[in-house]
Symmetry: C2
């Protein structure tokens, strides 16, 4: 059975650091020895952009089980940094949280003819839709799975700089989205993370990753 195209496998590269490269070898061993091979997929629900499926699996030791998996096309999260060192953040009502959250701009990859959008293109699109800004420079900083215990979503993280207003012809948020923007000095955004003002895992991870990078380069 072929795997879903929406399921992004880990892409591991050697680091040159002995402690980490030995862990990469351990992960490769676990890939083989603990593999959960899908022997049957049962589609349970097809939503607007995600599907839920129940997967029957077997392991190399012959044991079997089943897993409920939310299959998601993947997404991007964007850290837009202006020349004054401010991050552009968005305020959105999140039904799953029962309240408004402060987050970095982000969004799901569009799917055209079954093929997910290029993440960098999605980052440009989401930045403009959600903030009204365009970026002269969009740099991949990393990425992570949002909830790998049951969701396939992998988020690519981009740093957006050389920002300028998109003008009157700008892309707008999806019809279903109500978004407000806030600018915050990146050091203050770190404090927002530490004080619980920012409670969204992808934004926490992104802001702290960016902060280490800015601090390492003397900001």
């Amino acid at each position: 059975m072929t795997d879903s195209p929406a399921r992004r496998k880990p892409r591991r590269g050697l680091t040159g650091r002995p402690a980490l490269d030995s862990i990469l070898a351990e992960l490769a061993r676990a890939d083989r020895e603990l593999e959960e091979r899908i022997v049957r997929r049962e589609p349970v629900y097809r939503g607007h952009y995600m599907t839920l499926e129940k997967d029957a699996i077997v392991r190399p030791d012959g044991s079997d089980s089943s897993r409920d998996i939310v299959v998601h096309p993947g997404a991007v999260v964007v850290a837009p940094l202006d020349p004054q060192g401010r991050l552009l953040l968005v305020v959105q009502y999140r039904l799953a949280a029962g309240g408004a959250l402060l987050e970095l701009p982000a969004g799901t990859l569009d799917i055209h003819d079954g093929i997910p959008e290029d993440p960098e293109a999605a980052a440009h699109r989401e930045l403009e839709e959600e903030t009204g800004y365009r970026a002269g420079r969009m740099e991949l900083l990393g990425g992570y799975y949002s909830a790998p215990g049951f969701v396939t979503e992998y988020l690519s993280l981009f740093l957006a700089t050389e920002l300028r207003p998109a003008g009157a012809d700008r892309l707008r948020p999806d019809e279903d989205e109500r978004i407000r923007t806030v600018a915050l000095d990146w050091r203050e955004a770190v404090t927002a993370v530490q004080t619980g003002v920012i409670e969204d895992a992808k934004s926490v991870a992104a802001i702290l990753l960016l902060a280490r990078r800015l601090e390492a380069s003397g900001h």
Copy 2:
């Protein structure tokens, strides 16, 4: 209609910092003005610990929409730090990622008679089940929503210290889990995040939050 007990609302406290407190006021305004009030819940699927529901919502401006929401009881993530400054991490095969991932110990809150487990109790339980260690001290460091666009899961983050082996009567992983442990100096764990060896959002966020705290206290 009453809200699901599994849906944790943001709990915001004033920070004493003007830039952040004005954002908290903006979030409270968005709670009111952008509220998505559930007018109908349609259960779609009931899994082992999560359910999927389709919620019909209306906003204060009269507009309406529907949202697919994965209702999850919540979870804990634990950063177990030994006296030598090493973090205990776990290697697990993650079907949603199609491979093994390096993560901090974590797990879903048990539900008894409809009431979710106390997060601190869950942190002790998951630490012992997944690593075989017990903690003399368990401190709440913060928390975050894993994917607030469509999942209700809120993760409480704990720092576990004063670690000792649990002994022969230790709690074991769930029958369905195959877990291996790895110890890594916390500074090396930060490098693992920065080099993409750790690709799990809750672990990225937790390790970088802990690192800032350790660095601020002179480690």
